[in-house]
């Protein structure tokens, strides 16, 4: 069955015709055209497809698009503002938390959800919060450093420093 799906995507309400058997992942990538969210496995194993639904991390590859009616969905495309990277993106860039980059959008969204609820996370809290995300390149140490960098940069930002320009 095809229905009209109304939801908020990256802060803006939209209405799309969506079949009941379409995954949120495929809707975002194939219909909306936001390809930042990645497909990394055949379902639930890797976290590359992580997006936020009502602020909490969700695997879009196991979520039917029709179930997000009236909810707010955020993808990695929502983070940069006017060409400036968000702190969490800049952290992954500066600390080399991204190598091939395939896992990065999912890890960034899971990190973003963590930093919103815990702006100053310990290493353990970071490792716990990123447990659903697999990275085959970095060995995770650089990812933990990236999240810590973002937390510190955001704290400094709140204390008066400005956002740095996109590299």
């Amino acid at each position: 069955m095809i229905r009209l799906l109304t939801f908020r995507l990256n802060g803006r309400e939209r209405t799309d015709a969506v079949a009941d058997n379409v995954l949120l992942l495929d809707h975002l990538r194939e219909s909306v055209g936001l390809t930042g969210t990645k497909t990394g496995c055949d379902g639930g194993e890797c976290g590359a497809c992580t997006v936020l639904v009502d602020g909490a991390p969700v695997l879009s590859c196991l979520t039917l698009a029709a179930t997000v009616a009236d909810r707010s969905v955020e993808t990695v495309e929502s983070l940069a503002e006017e060409g400036r990277l968000a702190f969490i993106q800049e952290g992954f860039h500066r600390k080399l938390g991204s190598q091939c980059g395939y896992c990065t959008p999912g890890l960034i969204m899971a990190s973003e959800a963590l930093l919103r609820r815990d702006p100053d996370p310990t290493e353990d809290a970071i490792r716990d919060a990123l447990g659903s995300n697999i990275c085959r390149c970095t060995g995770y140490v650089k990812i933990v450093e990236a999240v810590r960098w973002a937390a510190e940069a955001a704290a400094a930002g709140r204390a008066g420093a400005t956002r740095s320009a996109a590299p």
Binding site: M1, D20, T50, L59, L62, T67, S132
Partner: protein, 327 residues
């Protein structure tokens, strides 16, 4: 783009609406967080349902109630809510630990208690893509006529791997509240599972799990532990829940339940015979014997059954020792 079978998705908002929807759509299935069902649907496991009934907007499936010794958990409560609830952590630490050890954090944010209790049984010959299973000519559990784990067997040994059922099974009076076409009923948690890996649940297809409730006697210390390949995400290779009562230097009560080994959650029989005296090496040795005789662990995972049975015993002894020694 993934091509999934066609179905209609319904989003009822009350248990009565779920029952009505189920009655009008005989081929339908319930969708909780989808972290088990959607994986299987994507892999072509199970007959494709004509209708999916999304439970995530059903208000009367939400909520955790703690009153005195009792806890009642709605089937729509997420694993994360259960793991983080301060009342659960304080009064039902074994249950909170089991919830906190399920899959990874994003899965816990999606997965529900109902879906965890009704989790499909698992096997390396079953949780595979369509072409992989086709190349092996499928198996007894779905689509084939042979069991690759036990080729002479007429029954399936796929493993029950949910972490909540054992943690509930070591409490008293664990019961499932069910709503079906015929009305409501309650079932002891133990009777929810058949022990057959293929038809693993004793629910009628139209029956909805509404809630689970159980009671912790005040002196019962509870805990949970498991081993898995990757500590942050995988299903258990073996999981154990324990309930221990210590009176002075005496082991007064002992309950153990396992997951990840048998086709059903296993409440270990015979533990009462270990109680009454000190928790010494002889008692631990007899405990190991009970585990060896009852924990089955066929080769349904990449790790051998022998390893899982051994690990189950090690985990059980460590956990019982830790709970007994805690002051």
């Amino acid at each position: 783009m993934n091509v999934l079978p066609e179905w209609e998705l319904l989003a009822p908002s009350s248990v009565d609406e779920v029952r009505a929807a189920r009655a009008h759509h005989p081929g339908s299935r319930f969708l909780g967080g989808g972290t088990d069902l959607v994986v299987n649907l994507r892999r072509g496991i199970g007959d494709p349902p004509a209708t999916l009934i999304d439970l995530n907007r059903v208000a009367d499936l939400k909520g955790i109630e703690v009153a005195g010794e009792w806890i009642r958990i709605g089937a729509g409560v997420t694993i994360r809510e259960l793991a983080q609830d301060p009342r659960v952590r304080a009064s039902f630490p074994g249950l909170a630990a089991a919830a906190g050890s399920i899959a990874g954090p994003t899965h816990r944010n999606m997965g529900t208690v109902g879906g965890n209790l009704c989790l499909d049984t698992r096997c390396i010959y079953y949780n595979q893509s369509e072409w992989w299973r086709a190349a092996n000519r499928y198996c007894l559990k779905y689509g084939g006529d042979i069991c690759h784990v036990a080729p002479k067997s007429r029954i399936c040994y796929a493993t029950f791997s949910g972490d909540l059922a054992p943690a509930l099974a070591v409490l008293d009076d664990a019961q499932i509240e069910i709503a079906g076409a015929q009305g409501a009923r309650t079932l002891p948690l133990d009777s929810l599972y058949t022990g057959d890996g293929e038809r693993y649940l004793a629910l009628e297809p139209d029956e909805l799990v509404v809630a689970v409730r159980a009671r912790r006697p005040p002196a019962l210390r509870t805990g949970y532990d498991k081993v898995r390949v990757r500590q942050s995400i995988d299903y258990p290779l073996a999981g154990v829940a324990a309930g221990v009562v210590r009176e002075g230097d005496r082991l007064a009560d002992l309950r153990l339940a396992f997951t990840g080994t048998n086709p059903r959650p296993l409440r270990l029989a015979g533990t009462e015979d270990l109680c009454g005296g000190a928790l010494d090496d002889a008692v631990m040795e007899r405990l190991s014997g009970l585990v060896r005789r009852q924990v089955m662990a066929m080769r349904t995972t990449f790790t051998s059954g022998h390893y899982r049975r051994h690990a189950a015993g090690v985990l059980a002894r460590r956990l019982v020792r830790r709970l007994f020694d805690t002051t």
